[in-house]
Every structure is written in C-alpha cells, then in structure tokens.
C-alpha cells in the first residue's frame, strides 16, 4: 500500500470528473454577447476550444463556469456580436 493518497499514474478511475472542476476562474476577460446582433450562425460554437458556447433557440450564450476567456469567439464572430469585457 502506498502512503500517498493518490491513484497510481495520475489515473482518474471515475468518468466526468472534469465537470466538477470549474475552470471559469482562470478568466481575466469575459465574452459578452449582444443578442441584437447575433444571428445564431454558430461560428463561435464551432471555434470554442472549451465547448463553453451554449446553443439557445435564436442566439447563443456563454457557460461562464468553464469559459477561460480566450477571446476566440469574439475574434471569429462575423457580426462582431461578442465583446471581451474586463472581469472584476
């Protein structure tokens, strides 16, 4: 038996543990969506590396629990509907 309380080889034997580990706190700027400009083209949804764009019926929203604030969505939005706003 190991005296260290960790699982051998950093294996995580339980699936979906990443859901418990919210990474939104890493963010320094947050994307804010202007729903008047959004045409629901889903370019941001395709580009988001953290699957943090939420699809709604007529426009999109952001899952701030996991969005790390990289700004790719704002850069790629063809309608300039996403603005990066300083946190805090």
């Amino acid at each position: 038996m190991s005296k260290y309380d960790v699982v051998m080889g950093a294996i995580i034997p339980k699936p979906r543990s990443s859901i418990e580990n919210k990474t939104g706190g890493w963010r320094t700027r947050k994307p804010v969506i202007d729903v008047q400009k959004c045409v629901n083209c889903l370019i941001c949804w395709i580009y988001c590396p953290d699957t943090s764009i939420i699809r709604l019926e007529k426009y999109v929203a952001v899952n701030y629990d996991y969005c790390k604030g990289c700004g790719i969505c704002a850069e790629e939005c063809p309608r300039k509907a996403i603005t990066m706003v300083e946190e805090g």
């Binding site: 190991s2 005296k3 260290y4 309380d5 960790v6 699982v7 051998m8 080889g9 950093a10 294996i11 995580i12 034997p13 339980k14 699936p15 543990s17």
Partner: protein, 393 residues
C-alpha cells in the same frame, strides 16, 4: 529436460519474448538492436506467435505506441539503442509516470558525435533518471533469463514500472553463446498473463494522462519512487523463483573472490566476466586476491546489499562505461560515493571510465587494472583517483 541452443544476445532476447506471450511489439530498427525485432517480426510473420507487430517511423513513436497498448492492458515489449533511446527520452518519463510495465531491451551503444555503433553505457546513463528499473546482463544466458524475469517484476502489483534490460552492444548482441532455454509451458507457469490494475476499456471510461497541479504532482512522483523501492523486494522474490525453476540463481548484486580480499573492482555488464576470469587467474597463479563486484540491478540501486557486500573491502575501484563530462565521478562512481557518505563508511574509492565506443577491456588491460588495485591496497599512491582506464593503468 534442459534444452540448449546456440544464440546471440539479440536472438536470445527475441526467443525469450516469443515465450512470454507478448501482446504487442512496436519498434524501430537501430544497430546493434535490430536483430531482436527482426527475429520477433519473423516469428509474427511465420504465425509462431500471436503478437501484434507495429512498424512506426521513429523510436519516439515506437515507445508512444507501446504506452497506448500497455494502457489497454496488454503485455508490451520494445527494443532500442543509442540515438534511438535518446530520441525516446521524453517518452521514457511518460512510460514510468503512467506506470506502464513495458519491458525494453537496450543494446548499449555509444552516442554521436563522432558516429560510433559500438558498445558503451552512454545511452542508458543519459536516461538514468527516467524512472525505469535498469538491469545489466553480463552474458547471453543472462540476457535471456532477465528478459523473462523482467516482465514478472514490471507487472507485479507493488511495482507497475517499466524495465530496461541492458546488454552490451556487439559484445553481447552479436556474439553467439551456448545457452539453456526453458520450455514454453514452464515460462507460462512462471509468467501468467498480465493482470492490469487499471486499463483503457470503452465500457468503463477512465482518464489516463491527466495533468497534476503542484499540490499533487510531487505525490505522484514520490509514489513512483515508492514503487521503485518496493521493486527490490519483488526483484529478489522473482529471482528466487526463477532460480528454483532453472538452477540459475540471480539477485541484485554478485560478488566474486571477496573472501580474504580487501580490494575489489566494481562494474556493470559484460566486462565483469573478463574481470572475474583475470581475477581467478591472478589468484590461482600469483596469489593476488582481488574481488569483483557486479550490479545486476542498477536502478533502483541496491543500497543495503551493496553495503553488506563491501563490509570487508578497504579499497574499491568503480568502473564507469560512460563519460560524465565536467563531473568528478561517473554515474556508477557517484552512486557508490553517495552510498559511502550516507552510511559513513571509510574506504578508499577510485573511479575510472573505460570502454567508450567499443574500446573493450582486454585480458591484458584487466590484468594491469587488477595489479594496480593490489598495489593501491598495499598503500601505493595511484597516479590518479579518476581518469580513463587505458591511460591510468
């Protein structure tokens, strides 16, 4: 019944792998290792073994493929040498960190530049701290025997670490020896199928290769170190069991002629055979008594066994077959020095480098070294406590 075969070191390792029910082999050819995987691919092509052979474009990919296969629960083997081991370097750490019990033969060869395909230990010593158990074989029989034992050591629940079986390039890889081999049924009894603790299984999803934050990272590494320490006990158990099966008794360390002798030479691998042979001649013909100490197990370093072995030794010459430019001692010399300091022992330690790029220790050179050892033990001051063997004796 004992069966004898004439095999080279490479062929003997391939033959051992054939008998160990290995699930996957992935490798890239490099001298002087190539024949190992060539023979294994022959066995696969001839339908003699049910092993998946994966051809890849580099050693980096070879070991990466091995990790993936090992994580699915398979028994995995690969082999490399020299530049190939250097190219694997980062993947070596991933293998031990992910606790994959892969066995790899390393046909020890010099590193470029200048280009040289011959034997020395620079390759393994360059990856010394990669977290693999490291065994050095002295002859072809040992190469065969250690390959079979290595799977059992690596896969033990208290170990779960990769093992490198080192054989000196050309001296062992390409030289033909008459060896004893086991029957397949005996190997099967000695080495049952691998029982992985965790494995990739679509029915039971798990995360492998996760990252660890500072407050956890050191715990994983210390747990790895703990497994390394556990492996000494397992290593001895496996060697005992193998000894009962074959009559060939192995352990972590082997000594010759230490009775009545206060001076000894210590080394790794094939050179130990030459040293022992010359020590025997000098003892029988001249009455000169020099002991020879060989480490079978280099990592983890068997500290307690070393200390009890050198109990009566007053002068020890440690030979390193790898250069550590800018250092005081070579890798093995430094290990011995640290054990001496830790245990507060008092004896004279000399550390010579030898055998770089295939500059073999002949009987003549061994004779000069042993005579020097006797003189130093008698109180004669050596020209140098360190240096290159050929230049100092």
């Amino acid at each position: 019944m004992v069966r004898r075969l004439g095999l080279t070191g490479n062929e003997a390792i391939a033959y051992a792998v054939k008998q160990c029910d290995v699930g996957l082999v992935s490798a890239y050819p490099i001298t002087p290792q190539t024949i190992i995987v060539e023979r294994i691919s022959d066995y696969v092509a001839n339908g003699e073994i049910d092993t998946e052979f994966v051809c890849v474009e580099s050693e980096h990919s070879a070991l990466s493929a091995c990790i993936g296969a090992s994580l699915t629960g398979l028994r995995v083997f690969t082999a490399t040498a020299s530049q190939g081991l250097a190219l694997m370097h980062e993947v070596l750490y991933a293998t031990s960190g992910l606790r994959c019990p892969i066995v790899m033969a390393v046909a020890n060869r010099a590193l470029s530049a200048p280009l040289n395909i011959h034997g020395d230990h620079s390759d393994m010593m360059g990856s010394r701290d990669c977290g693999w158990i490291q065994i050095f074989a002295e002859n072809v029989q040992e190469a065969y025997d250690w390959t079979i034992q290595s799977f059992k050591i690596a896969e033990h629940p208290d170990v779960q670490l990769p093992v490198a079986v080192n054989i000196d390039g050309f001296t062992l890889t390409h030289c033909l020896e008459d060896i004893e081999v086991l029957e397949k049924e005996d190997v099967e009894k000695f080495l049952p199928p691998r029982k992985p603790i965790y494995r990739i299984d679509p029915e039971k999803p798990m995360t492998f290769g996760a990252w660890a934050m500072p407050e956890y990272y050191y715990k994983f590494k210390l747990q790895q170190q703990e497994a390394m320490e556990n492996s000494i006990k397992v290593f001895k158990q496996v060697a005992d069991e193998y000894g009962k099966l074959t009559g060939r008794n192995y352990g972590v360390i082997q000594s010759y002629g230490l009775e009545g002798s206060k001076v000894a030479i210590m080394a790794l691998g094939s050179t130990c055979g030459t040293l022992r042979h010359v020590a025997k001649i000098l003892r029988e013909t001249k009455g000169l008594k020099v002991g020879v100490i060989k480490l079978w197990l280099y990592r983890p370093i068997p500290e307690d066994d070393f200390i009890s072995t050198v109990e009566n030794v007053e002068t020890l010459i440690v030979l390193d077959r790898a250069l550590s430019p800018g250092a005081v001692f070579g890798p093995l010399g430094s290990d011995v020095a640290s054990m001496i300091v830790k245990r507060n022992l008092d004896f004279r330690l000399l550390n010579y480098t030898y055998g770089l790029g295939g500059d073999e220790v002949s009987m003549d050179l061994a004779d000069k070294l042993l005579r020097l050892a006797v003189k130093v033990a008698e109180g004669v001051k050596p020209t140098s406590l360190t240096g290159y063997l050929r230049e100092v004796v």
